[in-house]
């Protein structure tokens, strides 16, 4: 699981929804990357020095390629949106722990993503589908939340499990949140793997607690180093963290995926 910083080469990029870009990069980081991990993408602009954490949306080991799906949120991602085939882009990774795939074994799994938290679950859904039979989940439900009818990646999710959608404006699927969709569609499960905005993750933590489910949630925080050195990206933990010896864990290394019970969010 060795990390490296590499100059990747853009294979392709296209806008798949308003302000949402789908970027394929040729990089050796793909060799060791796993679902739920992320990479740090460096702007070329010398005034922006910190890597942008972007989740891994798909790994194509055969072609040495990583897929990133990101939203233009500021100056760094705006710069990325201009990348064209053949351009070079510096990438650090793979970073973080990734989803604990073994927790899915034999279980009813629900994958839940919201907004720009949708992409990492695509790789997760593929990994679950391709598991050996003795490691596979018994069932996979996929519940994704979007703002509106721009349900990016939905078609690809459909290939990997039973797909449900929630939209803020009700234009597709259930109007409301992914939790609303769980309720409305009577989706049941033993374990949740999730990524999305903090209110959604808080709701999932609560829901899982109430329904006696396990939930593995991917957290976000402002980062500097991405490798655990700066202590910039911590989350409050229930117990004293083994590394920090205080109730803080580093999202970039101990996370971004946590058992929802372990973190105070």
């Amino acid at each position: 699981m060795s990390k490296k910083k590499e100059s990747g080469i853009v294979i392709s990029q296209r806008e798949i929804a308003d302000g949402i870009f789908d970027l394929w990069i040729n990089t050796d980081i793909s060799k060791t990357a796993k679902a739920g991990q992320f990479v740090g993408v460096y702007p070329a602009n010398g005034a922006m020095l910190l890597p942008r954490p972007i989740s891994i949306c798909k790994v194509d080991k055969d072609n040495n390629a990583l897929r990133l799906v990101y939203r233009v949120a500021g100056k760094g991602t705006l710069e990325f949106s201009f990348l064209k085939k053949g351009d070079r882009i510096d990438v650090l990774g793979p970073l973080g722990n990734g989803y604990p795939v073994d927790k899915a074994c034999g279980k009813k799994v629900i994958l839940m993503g919201g907004g720009i938290g949708v992409p990492p679950l695509l790789e997760m859904s593929r990994v679950l589908k391709d598991l050996d039979d003795n490691k596979k989940p018994s069932e996979v439900s996929i519940v994704m939340g979007y703002r509106n009818s721009q349900d990016f990646l939905a078609d690809e999710f459909r290939e990997n499990g039973q797909f449900y959608v929630a939209t803020d404006d009700g234009s597709l699927g259930v109007r409301g949140t992914v939790i609303d969709a769980l309720n409305k569609e009577n989706i049941e499960g033993d374990v949740i793997f999730a990524c999305g905005p903090m209110p959604m993750l808080r709701a999932i933590k609560k829901y899982a607690g109430e329904h006696n489910m396990e939930a593995y949630i991917s957290l976000e925080e402002k980062m500097a180093c991405g490798v655990g050195a700066c202590l910039g990206c911590v989350v409050k933990t229930r117990d004293v963290d083994a590394h920090s010896h205080v109730k803080n864990a580093r999202i970039c290394t101990d996370g971004p995926v946590y058992d929802a019970r372990d973190v105070e969010i």
Binding site: K3, L49, A224, C225, A229, C233, V234, H245, N248
Partner: protein, 300 residues
């Protein structure tokens, strides 16, 4: 070609160190940098007991730099002595432990604990808020700096580096106070205090409101202060502030630093320290410099 430098009797294989707080305790960058090739590893600040640090967000990017308000989160000296020092001792590099505290007593606690450890030097971070003086840092008043330096020197068995804050009117007064109190070396600069506001959310970018500015943005201030101090005191100087490559390192040395540290640019380029080490050698070869010590303070 000699790249060795000596500071307070400690010989470093080369003048390249890491800046405290930007390199963890060495382990985190082990996949990128060979610690055996570094002049020294300077650890994250350690206190007499675990500190929780500040709430998040703790970091924010700025033009050619960043703000941090980690709040000196650390596991405390017990864990540090048991876990981090033994880790670093595996490597053929010098160990400099950065020390923080809220009061002279807290600093002395740590210094005493470290005195019998196999570490090479201590670096005292005097930018921590002094609880007894209402949060004013020890590093912004010459008398307070003199006092704390003197007390630490009494207890410490290893040579002491006082790390100066740039948030002062006259850095040479601070350097002179440290020297007068017996400091073996000074390091500078710590971060400049800064602030960033998120205008859309109408809030501070850092939970702590203010944070420390570091990176290439502050390099001109750092080089100026190193130059001023080199002309004001005789004790050696470890220079830092925005060093990204060998050219930057050499700039600090020509201004008067005997050694240099790479800080936030590790985050931009995890191979930065290795490139600085190699780049200094290349520069020496190209410019036919036999001994790296010959360029220290060469620009007057």
């Amino acid at each position: 070609m000699n790249t060795k430098v000596t500071i307070a009797g400690v010989e470093f294989k080369n003048p390249v160190m890491v800046a405290s707080g930007t390199f963890g305790s060495g382990q985190e960058y082990g996949e990128f940098a060979d610690l055996n090739k570094l002049g020294a590893v300077v650890t994250k600040g350690v206190a007499n007991r675990p500190w929780e640090g500040n709430p998040t967000p703790r970091v924010a990017e700025t033009s050619s730099g960043m703000l941090n308000a980690i709040g000196l989160q650390n596991p405390g000296i017990d864990v540090f002595v048991e876990r981090d020092i033994p880790f670093l001792q595996q490597y053929d590099t010098k160990i400099i432990v950065n020390v923080c505290g809220h009061s002279i007593e807290e600093y002395l606690d740590v210094v005493e604990r470290l005195s019998d450890e196999k570490i090479d030097m201590m670096e005292i971070n005097v930018s921590c808020p002094n609880v007894k003086e209402g949060g004013i840092a020890f590093g912004t008043r010459p008398d307070a700096l003199f006092e704390i330096t003197k007390e630490i020197k009494k207890k410490s068995k290893q040579p002491i580096i006082m790390k100066l804050s740039p948030n002062v009117t006259d850095i040479t007064e601070m350097a002179k106070a440290a020297e007068a109190a017996g400091a073996d070396a000074i390091s500078l600069i710590n971060t400049l205090t800064g602030m960033k506001i998120d205008i859309h959310r109408r809030c501070f970018a850092l939970a702590n409101k203010t944070g420390g500015l570091s990176g290439p943005a502050i390099k001109p201030v750092a080089v100026r202060m190193v130059y001023q101090c080199a002309n004001a005191v005789k004790i050696p100087i470890i220079g830092m502030g925005g060093i990204a490559n060998a050219e930057d390192a050499i700039e600090f040395m020509m201004a008067g630093a005997s050694a240099v540290a790479v800080g936030m640019m590790n985050f931009h380029n995890p191979y930065a320290t290795m490139e600085v080490v190699k780049g200094i050698e290349d520069f020496m070869q190209k410019e036919k410099i036999e001994d790296i010590k010959d360029i220290i303070g060469i620009v007057k």
